[in-house]
Amino acid sequence: MRGIAYVLTALAVFGLAFWAYRENYATQQVLKETRALQQQIGAAQLRMGVLRAEWAYLNRPDRLSELAGLNFDRLGLLPLRPDQFGLIDEVSYPPEPLLPITNPVDVSTMAEGEQP
């Protein structure tokens, strides 16, 4: 009886030692991955900062007004004036959609018929 207890205890110690060994390496692996991820996050944040700075630089009011001036022919943008405010009932309803065509006429064959 006592012998079996000794053997079981020894096996349990082996098992626990193996488990601890594995956990140790798994933890180290996870820490390594975390470090790599954090480095990636840092790099991404840095890049995001640069992109946001660039976005802000490209959207600076000076440049936008210059662009509005350059493209005045196409866009016709002018500064907002007080008389441009309107009331909601000045906005017209969208036009009614056209009725669906129920008896389509095949025009491709008509064109063929005209050919000599």
Binding site: W55, P82, F85
Partner: protein, 594 residues
């Protein structure tokens, strides 16, 4: 263990037989027994002491060992606990009220040389001068071929320049990482943002510190890594600020002024939505402060908060409002404005020596009568006037949160005499910054509560101490509106926005005393819409002069007012204010009797 009896019969009986005292035997036995017990207790205590000593020895060993390990190991961040909140090593961004970036950071490099490592110093110097034309080739060659081991070449270089230096291929030219403060909008809000520079510098890093404006005022907050990536949100609005700068710059040029400033402030929350001071500068390349001449001529000078001027007639409304608040007069009370009027021997005159005769208090403001306001001030008296000005914050620098604001100390007369009372009632003898004036007008506009101007975004209205009664503030607003409809600020009418305001034209003081005849500060302080004010706009032009109707005009009505009207027309839509029909006066009730 065998227990020996205390009175063994074997010894007692013979002792009795001999006539000896048997108690002696008993005592002897007790003594022996006690000695045994003492021995046992000592052994046990010694054992315990040993175990305890061993335990302490081990504990000290562990502590000492841990200390030794910690002392000899490299310091290291605990990795597992650093997840989640990332630590931002960078200086925090500054954003406007809608989260648009006003200041951010940028990674660049610095360039330095280690002359002993240089392969060909002269070729390196030639190459560097080709890349950076502002460098001096002879000096570089002298530095590179001398005894120096380390030479800074450039503090900040762009990626293209870095690549070009790389292409030179000299191993003695090295780069250090640098963090640089970037203001992507250039000159926009330059005076508020201030600027940043390098503090302590090393090869691998340099400290970025704020040198002016909010960058300096909130330096600790911006540098604190505990704030993470939380940016500093200002009350400024990028779009409004850009439009205000554009319109004011145009107005300044048109009115031939040498400087201009404008402040747009929310009357309830005290948020300054736009503050402009012209001429301005680029905070990315902040000019050096001037070492000679008048500091107010430098573009670094912030006219809106640093420039203390006598702002002239814009003060009259405070006198009128206080007189109404104290119940001395109402808006309709008739005041005699005819001359001559002398206070402490000094004559008080009117603009162009006019004589308005008898006017109502409202018309005193509309026509901007010095003698009329002077007489009101004499009724108020020096003590009450001084207390009122103090409650409006006119004696201390404004609490506006930029470093320069601490320099805007108003110039207050040493003795508040009767003459001071009269001159201050129309804005002379007390020099304040336009920011003080904006705060004062905001008090009238919001119904009598003092608001302190702030550059930080607020969540709701400030409920400052009450300075004026609701009724007096409403009367003052009606008078300000009348100045625009019938008075000196008729160019200030903007259809739909019911502008109310007061003009002020003050002669500039000479540095050696006295006043210039031909140099003025023209101010227009306005509130809009006058029936339900949302914003205060103060426009100040420095030395404006414009030709109109074959005459040179300098008064605010001809210079500052049109600029302010243009600004309101341009800014109010951007602020989301709809043009509105002004509510007309209530129908007059005719009293009849049978």
């Amino acid at each position: 263990m065998t227990r020996t009896p205390l009175r063994p019969l074997a010894r007692i009986l013979p002792a009795r037989a001999k006539g000896e005292n048997p108690a002696v035997i008993e005592r002897e036995n007790i003594r022996q027994r006690h000695a045994e017990m003492q021995d046992r207790a000592r052994v046990r205590a010694e054992g315990r002491l040993l175990v305890l000593g061993l335990f302490f020895f081990c504990a000290f060993l562990v502590v000492g060992g841990r200390m030794a390990v910690m002392a000899t190991s490299e310091p290291q961040e605990p990795v597992a606990s650093a997840h989640g909140a990332s630590i931002a090593a960078q200086r925090a961004d500054i954003v406007d009220r809608k989260g648009r970036i006003l200041a951010t950071n940028f990674e660049t490099h610095s360039l330095y040389a280690q002359p002993p490592e240089l392969v060909d110093p002269e070729a390196a110097a030639r190459g560097l001068v080709r890349i950076f034309p502002d460098l001096d080739e002879a000096r570089l060659i002298r530095d590179f071929s001398g005894k120096r081991k380390f030479v800074w070449i450039k503090k900040r270089i762009s990626p293209e320049q870095k690549q070009a230096v790389h292409d030179l291929g000299d191993p003695g030219l090295l780069f250090g990482p640098r963090e640089m403060r970037l203001y992507p909008n250039g000159k926009l809000a330059a005076h508020v943002l201030g600027g940043a520079g390098f503090g302590r510098e090393g090869v691998n890093a340099a400290e970025v510190i704020g040198v002016a404006g909010v960058e300096k005022q909130f330096d600790d907050y911006l540098r604190d890594p505990a704030n993470g990536a939380q940016p500093l949100a200002l009350s400024l609005d990028l779009t409004v600020q850009a439009a205000a700068e554009q319109v004011l710059a145009g107005g300044m040029k048109l009115m031939n002024a040498k400087g201009a400033s404008s402040i747009l402030m929310d009357v309830h929350s005290g948020e300054v939505v736009s503050v402009v001071s012209l001429p301005d500068f680029d905070p990315n390349d902040r000019p050096r402060p001037p070492v000679s001449g008048d500091p107010s001529d430098s573009p670094l000078f912030n006219r809106a908060v640093q420039g203390v001027y006598e702002l002239g007639s814009t003060f009259k409304i405070f006198t009128a409002a206080q007189a109404i608040d104290l119940g001395l007069v109402s808006a309709e009370t008739i005041v005699d404005t005819s001359g001559p009027m002398k206070v402490s021997g000094y004559p008080i005159g009117e603009f162009h020596n006019k004589n308005y005769g008898k006017l109502s208090v409202a018309d005193v403001i509309v026509h901007s009568s010095n003698r009329g306001t002077g007489r009101l001030a004499l009724e108020i008296g020096p003590e009450r006037q001084k207390a009122f000005m103090g409650a409006l914050g006119m004696f201390d620098p404004t609490p506006f949160e930029i470093v320069e604001a601490h320099g805007g100390q108003p110039l207050v007369p040493e003795r508040w005499t009767e003459l001071s009372t009269v001159t201050i009632s129309y804005g002379h003898g007390l020099s304040i910054s336009p920011m003080h004036l904006a705060a004062g007008y905001a008090t009238i506009a919001n119904g009598g509560h003092y608001v302190s101007p702030t550059v930080l975004r607020q969540d709701g209205p400030q409920h400052g101490p009450r300075v004026l009664s609701e009724r007096a503030a409403a009367d003052a607003r009606r008078m300000l509106r009348k100045v625009v409809t019938d008075g000196t600020a008729s160019f200030g009418e903007v259809p739909g926005y019911a502008v109310g305001g007061k003009t002020g034209t003050a002669d500039k003081p000479k540095p050696r005393g006295g006043y210039y005849d031909d140099k003025v500060i023209a101010t227009f302080a306005s509130i809009f819409p006058a029936h339900d004010p949302k914003y205060v706009l103060v426009v100040t032009l420095d030395e404006p002069s414009v030709q109109a109707y074959q005459e040179e005009r300098r008064t605010a009505g001809w210079t500052a007012v049109p600029v302010a009207a243009e600004m309101i027309g341009r800014l109010a839509p951007l602020l989301g204010l709809r043009p509105d029909v002004e509510p007309g006066p209530r129908a007059a009730i005719t009293l009849t009797s049978n």
